[in-house]
Amino acid sequence: MRRKDANSALLSNYEVLQLLTDLKEQRKESGKNKHSSGQQNLNTITYETLKYISKTPCRHQSPEIVREFLTAMKSHNLTKAEKLQLLNHRPMTAVEIQLIVEESEERLTEEQIEALLHTVTSILPADPEPEPEPEGTAASAMEQEGPA
């Protein structure tokens, strides 16, 4: 076995979630050979990976949301890896943005960071729980407070 291209494409957590959920459905329907020893590895890794990904923000995403997000991101001049991480993590604070975007102090002004946060939190759906405070105040409160 050889590999032709070790990095032919980056996958977002959402795509992997879709793939594994579809795979699980298919295998449930065909049914008979799930428990043969050969398939045990696939079962284990699918279960564990689904368990991990289902806890991340990508479980609320859909292809339209991802497309909308990428179009909105075009104006911000970010690398592919940074956009992917924003999509996977859905940061809500300026500190997280600074972690994800390299050299963010030089590339983004404070207003740009705010705008970026706003785009991320408005396009990517969050967990459905009451979030009363608007993104602006939460981000600025974060910058002053530090670790709790």
């Binding site: 076995m1 050889r2 990095n7 032919s8 050979n33 890794i45 991990y52 997280e96 530090g146």
Partner: protein, 204 residues
Amino acid sequence: MFVLVEMVDTVRIPPWQFERKLNDSIAEELNKKLANKVVYNVGLCICLFDITKLEDAYVFPGDGASHTKVHFRYVVFHPFLDEILIGTIKGCSPEGVHVSLGFFEDILIPPESLQQPAKFDEAEQVWVWEYETEEGAHDLYMDTGEEIRFRVVDESFVDTSPTGPSSAEVASSSEELPKKEAPYTLVGSISEPGLGLLSWWTSN
């Protein structure tokens, strides 16, 4: 976190599976071979993404099975350098903090990459971040089961394929098991603002 890797391999389908569709048999064989396994210098293979090309299938003399060369793409877990990941603390030891992602367990954050100053509490076997403020030092414990955000700073692949028989008498006389090495390990760091336990950085 996940990448698509294009690979080529020859898949052997035994005769009793000839009644099944070739694509299904091949998909099952590839998953059986690669799922949940680490490929050297590639990463942890998760599942088959798709089959891009099937070449002609051959049957060789002496073996009734068909051999098909398959070009396919596989979903592989292989975080890139400096990627931010969120995991769960599995435990602490003098070597550092061990983090797990559920499907991948060999992640270590060495003591020098913890938020400084950090000390190891021998009694409770946890690492502690001694966070200084004007009021005094807060001890922030890194307990098992807590969610932690870290940056991937290094990865290492170890070739764990068997090396073959070494001098036979020496090997058979010793009782000890060879040390089990993880084929793929990640080294993380939490020494930046925003990294570490999620509870350290959330404001309610």
